[in-house]
């Protein structure tokens, strides 16, 4: 994360559509400089290469002009334009407003979503946004339109972290998936009675890919506070008094176990799980995303 970008990661910038777009563009352009073309070849608009005809190939793909020139049968290949649907899902419960420094988990998630959406738009994928908490479920259905990105960013800016994860109705619409799609879920995994895990497991179908970005804070992982404090649960408002010096070790191992358990659970369900701490550079997240997207295209 370069310093120039760091200066932009302020709530007042991230809370405006243009600001969020700017940050997203800086992240993606910085990452994509040098670019990447599609590796796959096949039938499409953009020419890629010729290859010799082999029995069994579709005769419609024969390039007759090439045959006229060279009296050989060639098949014209083009880069395949793969269009997939990317669904961003954001856990907008109040626990996401946990902040370290000026950056809250929600802000971090917003920046990542904006950057990834920018990237997907560049790759002419369709993308949609679903934010969930128990007060409201916002849905920007995936569409391939020019205005989609602005609409998407606007919805993203207006997301507020409040309440808890939705427990009852409304959540069903999110499972309406068909065809190839990539679901990217941003959460802090603080669930109640495994409802998050249940939700994630229902997202996964044989045809789609699910990436779960688990956002954590660095202090949150290690309990690196100094002294005795009262800790308040953002969602339940319950308080515990903790002498951090005494609990640090236990807490850290417990955290690690929890992450490991979650990772194993995701692995069993063939869900990509990525633990992201808020101090991680955004590029790492982008790379993870692209890796998964490539697997989806085969």
């Amino acid at each position: 994360m370069n310093t120039q970008l760091k200066d932009l990661l302020k709530p007042e910038i991230l809370n405006s559509v243009s600001g969020l777009e700017l940050v997203a563009r800086i992240i993606v352009e910085g990452f994509m400089s040098g670019s990447n073309k599609s590796q796959a070849v096949g039938a499409g608009q953009e020419f890629s290469q010729y290859r010799s005809y082999e029995p069994g190939d579709d005769l419609r793909q024969l390039d007759w002009k090439m045959y006229a020139r060279s009296e050989r049968y060639y098949i014209k290949q083009a880069a395949i334009e793969t269009n997939i649907t990317v669904k961003f899902m954001l856990d907008a419960s109040n626990s996401m407003s946990y902040a370290e420094g000026a950056m809250s988990k929600l802000h971090y998630a917003k920046v990542m979503i904006a950057a990834l959406a920018y990237l997907t738009r560049k790759q002419s994928d369709t993308f949609g946004l679903f934010t969930v908490n128990n007060k409201s479920i916002n849905a920007i259905q995936p569409r391939f339109e020019t205005q989609q990105f602005i609409r998407f960013l606007n919805a993203l800016v207006n997301v507020k972290s409040e309440g808890s994860w939705s427990k009852d109705g409304g959540i069903e619409q999110l499972f309406d998936h068909h065809g190839k799609e990539l679901i990217i879920f941003f959460t802090d995994m603080y669930d109640d009675d495994n409802d998050l895990l249940h939700f994630i497991s229902r997202l996964k179908t044989p045809r789609n890919e699910v990436i779960v970005f688990h956002i954590m804070g660095e202090q949150e992982m290690a309990l690196s506070y100094d002294g005795s404090f009262s800790f308040e649960d953002l969602e339940s408002k319950r308080q515990v008094k903790v002498d951090t010096a005494l609990q640090q070790e236990v807490y850290a191992t417990r955290m690690k176990d929890w992450v490991k358990e979650t990772r194993m659970w995701m692995l069993e369900k063939a869900i990509t799980y990525q633990l992201v701490t808020m101090s991680d550079p955004f590029e790492k997240t982008l790379r993870d995303f692209l890796k998964v997207r490539n697997t989806l295209m085969r």
Binding site: Y190, L223, S230, F231, D233, Q247, W258
Partner: protein, 413 residues
Amino acid sequence: MQFLNPIWLWGLTGLLIPIGIHMLSRKEGKVIRVGSIRHLEETSTRQFRNIRLNEFVLLALRCLLITLVVLLLSGLSFTNSKSGDTNWLVMERGMEKENDFRALIDSLEQKGFELRWLAKDFPLLKDSAATKASMNYGSLVESLKSEHAKQIVVLSYNYANRFKGKRTTLPDNIQWISKSPEPTEFTLTATRLSADSVLVRKGKTDFGGTRFASYEVRGETLNEEEKALLQNQDTISISVYGDAKFESDKEIMLAALKAVDQTLPCVLNIKTSDAAKRSDDKTDWIVWLSENAIPESISVNSIVYAKNEFANELLTLSEKGWLINRRLDQENAIADNLALQLASILLPKDKAQQRANEFDRRALPEKELWSSADVKGNDDLATASTSNVMQYLVALILISLLIERIVAFKRNQ
């Protein structure tokens, strides 16, 4: 308890500072909001209670410190007149019989006043008979001050011979009611002059003064008091030795002795001889008028000529006896009252003096009794007690500061 600079008591508002800090620090920065507390455990509350208690002790100590400093600055002082809850009626011996005070004593007794004697340790009236030991009024007042009675009424005759030393002040809680003693007549001595004639010396004393007069009465008319005092004349033998050079001195001395003999009810056996021809007869007194020193062997009372130009008095008392400082002549014998001095030297008068003191009724007028409050001596007393309190305060401040530092250090660990 009083304050020399009460304005400093406003400093007590400074107590708001530690209390405010305590309140603020309790609320601020202690709660951390986290996504979930599922991985946290409540740390045993004992430790937290310790911490909270520690905070509380610290707060209390800091408040105490500020209070002490404020008290120090405001000049806390304790006067000795700590008011207790008892009322005393202290009366001098004889007062209980005074008709003038009968009503006052009765009414005060009904109001719950304790009746006590004006004597050492103030014994209760009903517990003990009146003690005779007379005591200085000044020291009695001082000890009354330290008794912490709420109100003290003193009935006193203000005998002049009981006011000794520096005048003290009368504290506010003591009310001093005085009465002039009744004039009294008493017999000082009664001396048998002959078979049926007695010389009686009578004294008449009242608040103004004491006067003595002598009467010669017939033996049968004596009253009981006089009979009890009746005694024979003292017989005193005196040997007067003189050189030839001291002939005139000797004559004057003899004349003075004769005057004493004739005036006072006593018999003087006077023998005279030359100093060189001294006999070892037994005498009560020796008068030695010579340039030569008196022989060492003489151990009786003596009046010896010893030239001393610097003495003011004609007769002075030394370790060995009385000394005549100058040559005697008619002038200085009259001017210095030689006869009177000889009489007071020769005649024992302790008993009579004691009796005279006993009946002494001289009294001081009321406005001369006590010094006014702003006399320096009183200030000394006040500052003494004040500085005492200051010392304690400073010591307390230092101690609490030390404890506060220790507790604070422990908390930070």
